[in-house]
C-alpha cells in the first residue's frame, strides 16, 4: 500500500498517475476467521478496521452481498451532527463526532469532513421551545449547539428567506457548528484500505445465506454463496437487511425496513454554505463539494426492500425546499435514488450482543446512520473483542424493548415524524 502524501501524489503525477497499486485486494474467503463482519458499508468496514487496529484481531473477513459501500453508505445525504436530546444519544453520536475529527489523518485517506455547521430552522413557537430545550440538554452533555435569531441565521446562510411573509417564516435556528458533511464513499474506501493493510479480507459479491449454530446455540460460522466460512464471532452490520440476516439465526428483531429517498441537483457554483434542516417543512439540504445541492426526503410509508420510492415523496420535499429557498425554484434535479433503512420503534439503534452467543448486531440506525459511522464501528469492534458492550452502547441493547427502557429519540431522523 502506497502512503498518500503530497510527495507521493507529485511523484506519481510525473508518471501520469499510472503507477498506483490497487488500494485493497479483492480477497477470496479462507475456511475460517477469528471474526466475521457481515456487510461492507462504512459501519462494517470500520468495525473490521478497529478490530485489527485497536484490539489486535487481524484475522477478520468482511463479507458483502454486493459491492463495497454500495448500500446506505453510498445512498445517504452525508450529514454529520450530534445534537441529540437524550444523554444516551448525545454520548453515542458525540463519540462518533469526535472520531470524525482526525479520521482522514488516521486512515491516510481524505474523507472530506467539513465542519460547515448544521442549522435547524424554527418555524413556530413549538419549534423554538423544542430547539432551546435541545440546546440546553446538549450543552449539559458537552455538545455544542447554539440559538440564532432569524437575522443571525440569514448571516450564516445567505440564501435563506427570512421574510415574515413567507409561508413558513423563519423565527430562529439552532446551530451546531461542529456538524457538517463528509464525502460518503471515501469513508468506506478509507476504512477498506486501512483494514486491508492490517490483514482484513474484504470479500465482495458473496451473499450470506445462513448462519450455522452449534448444539449449545453459539454461532459456528456463516453459509455463503461461496461456501461455508467458520468463525465463533460474527458481527452483523447489514442496515436494511438486518432483520433478514437475524432471522437466519432464528432471531426476530423489532425492525421495519423502509425506502428512504434522496436526490441531487445539477452542479452549480458554491451558493449554499452549510447544512439546513427544517423538520416542520420536512426538508433538508446541503451543497456537495462537486456543487450539487444534496436534498433528502422522508421515508416512504410502507415496508419495502426495493431501493426505490414514490415520486410524490420527492415532490413534497422539493415543494418544501422551494418554499424556504425561492432562489432554487429553477434548479433542475439530476438524480434521485433510494436506500433501505431499518427503523426501530424508538428510532434509536440496536448495538451490542444478541441472545445468540458469538453473534453481535449493529442495526436500527434508521434514517441517520452515516453520521455515526466511526462511532458505531468502534463500539461494535469493542463489543466483539470484549464480548461485552462499551458503557456508551450498553443502553442500546435489544432487551430495552422488553424492559421498556426505550431511548425514544424523535430527533434521530433528519425530519419530523
Amino acid at each position: 500500500m502506497t502512503r498518500f502524501s503530497a510527495f507521493s501524489l507529485f511523484a506519481k503525477a510525473l508518471g501520469g498517475h499510472q503507477g498506483w497499486p490497487e488500494q485493497w485486494p479483492d480477497a477470496s474467503p479462507k475456511p475460517a476467521y477469528d471474526a466475521i463482519i457481515v456487510g461492507a458499508g462504512g459501519h462494517g468496514l470500520g468495525a473490521a478496521y478497529y478490530l485489527a487496529k485497536k484490539y489486535g484481531i487481524t484475522n477478520v473477513a468482511v463479507i458483502e452481498k454486493g459491492w463495497l459501500g454500495g448500500g446506505n453508505t453510498g445512498r445517504n445525504t452525508t450529514i454529520i451532527r450530534s445534537n441529540y436530546l437524550y444523554d444516551e444519544s448525545a454520548h453515542l453520536y458525540d463519540h462518533a463526532l469526535k472520531l470524525w475529527d482526525g479520521l482522514s489523518q488516521e486512515l491516510n485517506y481524505n474523507t472530506m469532513y467539513s465542519k460547515r455547521g448544521v442549522m435547524m430552522l424554527a418555524h413556530n413557537v413549538h419549534d423554538i421551545q423544542s430547539f432551546k430545550r435541545h440546546i440546553h440538554a446538549n450543552r449539559l452533555n458537552g455538545v455544542d449547539n447554539e440559538w440564532l435569531t432569524a437575522e443571525q441565521a440569514k448571516d450564516y446562510c445567505p440564501p435563506l428567506n427570512i421574510s415574515p411573509d413567507a409561508r413558513y417564516p423563519v423565527l430562529g435556528a439552532a446551530l451546531q457548528r461542529r456538524g457538517g458533511t463528509a464525502r460518503h464513499d471515501t469513508v468506506a474506501w478509507g476504512y477498506a484500505r486501512a483494514a486491508a493493510a492490517l490483514g482484513v479480507d474484504i470479500i465482495q459479491n458473496c451473499a450470506v445465506t445462513g448462519i450455522r449454530r452449534g448444539a449449545d446455540g453459539a454461532v459456528l460460522g456463516v453459509e455463503t454463496e461461496r461456501g461455508f466460512i467458520a468463525s465463533r464471532r460474527i458481527g452483523v452490520s447489514a442496515a436494511g437487511h438486518s432483520s433478514v440476516i437475524m432471522q437466519m439465526a432464528g432471531l426476530d428483531f423489532p425492525l421495519e425496513s423502509y425506502p428512504l429517498q434522496a436526490l441531487v441537483s445539477e452542479p452549480v457554483k458554491p451558493v449554499f454554505p452549510c447544512v439546513v434542516m427544517s423538520n416542520t417543512v420536512h426538508a433538508y439540504m446541503s451543497q456537495s463539494d462537486k456543487g450539487e445541492l444534496v436534498i433528502g426526503a422522508g421515508t416512504d410509508q410502507y415496508v419495502s426492500y426495493s431501493q426505490r420510492g414514490a415520486l410524490h415523496i420527492i415532490e413534497h420535499t422539493l415543494a418544501a425546499i422551494c418554499e424556504i429557498f425561492p432562489i432554487f425554484r429553477r434548479m433542475r434535479m439530476l438524480r434521485s435514488w433510494g436506500g433501505i433503512v431499518d427503523v426501530t420503534p424508538d428510532r434509536s439503534p440496536i448495538l451490542g450482543k444478541t441472545p445468540v452467543p458469538g453473534l453481535y448486531i449493529n442495526c436500527g440506525w434508521g434514517t441517520g446512520g452515516f453520521k455515526a459511522t466511526p462511532g458505531a464501528a468502534d463500539l461494535l469492534a469493542y463489543t466483539m473483542a470484549k464480548d461485552e458492550p462499551h458503557p456508551i452502547n450498553a443502553p442500546y441493547n435489544l432487551d430495552r424493548f422488553r424492559t421498556g427502557r426505550l431511548i425514544d429519540e424523535a430527533a434521530a431522523a433528519a425530519v419530523a415524524h
Partner: protein
C-alpha cells in the same frame, strides 16, 4: 407510486389516496394482565419485516375511509391481493 386496489370501492387508485397502517393480522391480546414482558415486547415491537410476501393493512383514507388487508411482495412492491378486513389471511 403504487396503484392499490380497494376491496370496498372495487377500484384501482393511486397510493396518495391511501395510508399505510403497518403489518396485518396482529391480534390485540385478549387477556393483557396475563401477558409476560416478553409477550408484550413481541406484540408491540416485533414485526416480521420479510423480504418477500408481506401482509399489511392499508386505509383508503381519501376514499371510503375503510381499513383493508393486502399481500405485497416487499422486494418488487407488487401487490398479490387485497381483501377486506376480517377475511381470513391469504
Amino acid at each position: 407510486m403504487l396503484l392499490i386496489h380497494c376491496p370496498y370501492c372495487d377500484q384501482q387508485r393511486a397510493e396518495i389516496e391511501f395510508a399505510y397502517a403497518g403489518e396485518a393480522h396482529i391480534a390485540r391480546p385478549l387477556d393483557p394482565a396475563a401477558m409476560s414482558d416478553e409477550d408484550w415486547a413481541r406484540y408491540l415491537f416485533i414485526r416480521s419485516n420479510p423480504r418477500g410476501r408481506h401482509h399489511e393493512r392499508w386505509r383508503h383514507i381519501h376514499g371510503c375511509g375503510r381499513f383493508f388487508n393486502a399481500v405485497r411482495d416487499t422486494a418488487t412492491d407488487k401487490f398479490e391481493a387485497t381483501y377486506q378486513a376480517g377475511k381470513p389471511r391469504r
